[in-house]
Amino acid sequence: MPLVLNEEQRMLRDSVRDFVTDNANVDHFRTLRDKGDGKSYDPDTWAKLAELGISGICIPEAHGGLDFGYMAMGAVFEEFGKQLTASPLLSSAVFGASLIELAGTEAQKSKYLPAIAAGELTVAVAIEEGSHHAPLYTMLPVTESENGFILNGRKAFVIDGQSADLLIILGRSSGDLGDTDGLTLLLLDQDAAGMQRENDRMVDSRDYADLVFADTQVSADALLGSVGAAFDPLVLSLDRARACLAAEMLGGAQEMFDRTIAYLQERDQFGQKIGSFQALQHRAADMYTELELTRSAVMDALSALDEQRNDIGQAVSTAKCRINDTCLHIANEAIQMHGGIGVTDELDIGLFFKRCHVSINLLGNSGYHAERFAGLNGF
């Protein structure tokens, strides 16, 4: 159960760190945001990252990837989190690629996976229908027709749904709210007839979309996996995405924490460094302890995926639940301890704060994962 990066993984992390520090740091993100041209990430940077092989880390070698595992991918996401690097890595190279790998036919795999690994194709997955993460509450009807399927309804908060070339739609072909059976996955091109994309603007200024289907015709060969059997590949793919998102959040929490400690060390009030006030010292020490414990939970989740352990669900829900709470705690303390300037847009802390709060809701808030954890433990 490795909880520490090995030599190769550390080298990868270092090279990614160097790259994003120079090419995709917080200032780049701020510029991107202020341009307001709707672009949530920089295609050139993404292309360069792909050249580094980042987009292939979790894709099997047989399909043009590096098959380098989730500990490695987690290390990349942590660096992204520290610099607020925006990219389709999570939606496409982790979540989307995983669904195609686990549910797709050989044809589909060889058609899409190499392109995703090369960063030439981006995929987004449409899961949500309400304001809270709830894959089993999927009710978008998938009606079978003579030459395929018909979709009517909408999906919400699709991560990178605006920019993605290809969309994977989770719908229901049978069963009721909460049923694990009856879930079906379909592949749609971004410009599929009868599908409309609406922009969801969120506080983290990244790419989210609602998808609206009006008698959308989907050809039979767009089926990913078999009808009604999406649950198993979906759960594992979700856990892979959750673990990687947790790693990104860990980077963000670490960065907020480090910046706050630095501020405590330098800011003067009442004729002394505010970091010398015991009340703040104890709160900082408490944050540090919480952060170190949460880091271990995140590493364990990534490691569970690499080792295909049978407690992946518990490991991932522990990681997401804890990182949600840790991020919230540290984000609020970071603002409070920075005082007045903490609530200005000029200071970067606010950007981390906003990203953190969106991430908390993505792929399951603490309530969702606490519920799941309790269920897995039989209470």
Partner: protein
């Protein structure tokens, strides 16, 4: 006055309010900042009703219920004032006029101002013609306000003021500023601070709005370069500024601990939002147990907080109030608002972190309210400062 009079007064007040408060001003609570009347030469009324309501109340002096009649106030005693507020609440009447003039400067002038200053400024606050802003904090002086450096040089009949102020709320919309300046460097920092007044259009005053997390700018940086302030605009004596500021801080804390009365309130209750955005399960329980537990704690906490404010008032009336207890209100009040707005966005889930005022106005309002509330535990004496005060003053724990 005996019991009877108060009852009669209540009837009177209620009748007058019913007759004079426009229906559109009885839609509680304000759902938008622009529903708050801040007054001043730059203020634009949202509707005639809004203007009429302010004017009618101002004519009776009821925009400042407890200020003396001769300064344009309502001249009521504490109990009468509470009666009017209660009746206004019953009819859901909006506050006719709010702001730093009513909340802060007025009380300061009433206690420390000269008769001339009272007659010059108080009526214009009551009738909403002049809007005031506060020049307290400086880049180097936040929680540690007394270390402020903004310098006021004595040039015979006036002061020459140089320095920078920050967190001037709506400084770009105000007509006048009440400002803390340093008139003496020697001796302890609390001494040598003076309290002065000047118009914002005085030569040398420059204002820069500072964008917050929401992108809006409620606060400004104010730059003061060779600003001439006539000596008759000094409130109290030279060097008395800190005493006045401390007295004012109490008002500010009271103001902030009851922030949510003036804050844009959500059109729906927490429970309504939760039912809509989270949903109930087959047993009628909220689907998300974590959120459910947080809602219970928050609702109980708010209930206890409101009851504590009511208890403090009753104890005051009964003459058994332990003043040390009032030191908790700014801390407890602002932390509660922060928790409450945060809980609400968490209840809204993905919809609570939207930023799309056109497409999703109501949801985005909740998000903005939450981000704004982050400053409540920082401004007006941070929670840390409040805890210090509670520990040292109320609990009499030793200094180091």
């Amino acid at each position: 006055m005996s019991e009877i009079d108060y009852d009669a007064f209540r009837v009177e007040a209620r009748e007058w309010l019913e007759q004079n408060c426009p229906v559109s001003m009885r839609t509680p609570p304000a759902t938008d900042r622009s529903d708050n009347v801040m007054g001043g030469s730059k203020f634009v009324f949202k509707s005639d009703d809004q203007r009429i309501w302010m004017e009618r109340m101002a004519d009776r002096g009821w925009t400042a219920l407890e200020w003396p009649r001769k300064y344009g106030g309502g001249g009521l005693d504490a109990r009468q004032a509470k009666i009017v507020r209660k009746e206004m609440a019953k009819l859901n009447c909006r506050e006719p006029l709010i702001g730093h003039g009513i909340w802060m400067l007025g009380p300061a002038l009433l206690e420390y101002g000269s008769e001339e200053q009272k007659l010059q400024h108080l009526p214009n606050i009551v009738n909403g013609s002049i809007r005031w802003c506060q020049g307290y904090s400086e880049p180097g002086a936040g929680s540690d306000l007394a270390s402020l450096r903004c310098k006021a040089e004595d040039i015979g009949d006036h002061y020459l003021v140089n320095g920078q102020k920050c967190w001037t709320s709506d400084g770009d919309k105000a007509d006048w500023m009440f400002c803390l300046v340093r008139t003496d460097d020697s001796g302890p920092k609390q001494q040598g601070i003076s309290f002065v007044l000047f118009p914002m259009d005085t030569p040398g005053v420059a204002v820069r709005p500072v964008p917050l997390l929401t992108g809006e700018s409620h606060f400004c940086d104010t730059f003061l370069e060779n600003v001439e302030v006539p000596k008759q605009n000094l409130v109290g004596n030279e060097g008395e500024g800190w005493t006045i500021a401390k007295a004012l801080l109490v008002h500010e804390r009271n103001m902030m601990s009851s922030m949510d009365d003036t804050m844009p309130a959500p059109p729906k209750s927490l429970v309504e939002y939760a039912t809509e955005y989270v949903g109930l399960n087959e047993n009628g329980r909220l689907r998300d147990q974590r959120l459910r537990a947080r809602m219970v704690s928050q609702m109980m906490n708010k209930r206890a907080l409101d009851l504590t404010q009511a208890r403090a008032f009753e104890e005051g009336m009964a003459g058994v109030l332990d003043m040390r207890m009032t030191s908790i209100f700014k801390y407890a009040g602002t932390e509660n608002i922060k928790d409450n707005t945060e809980l609400l966005v968490d209840v809204l889930g993905h919809s609570g972190v939207r930023w799309d005022a056109e497409g999703h106005y109501e949801e985005t309002q909740r998000t903005a309210a939450w981000m704004n509330a982050l400053s409540f535990t920082i401004a007006g004496g941070s929670s840390e400062v409040q805890l210090n005060v509670i520990a040292k003053r109320s609990l009499e724990l030793p200094q180091e």
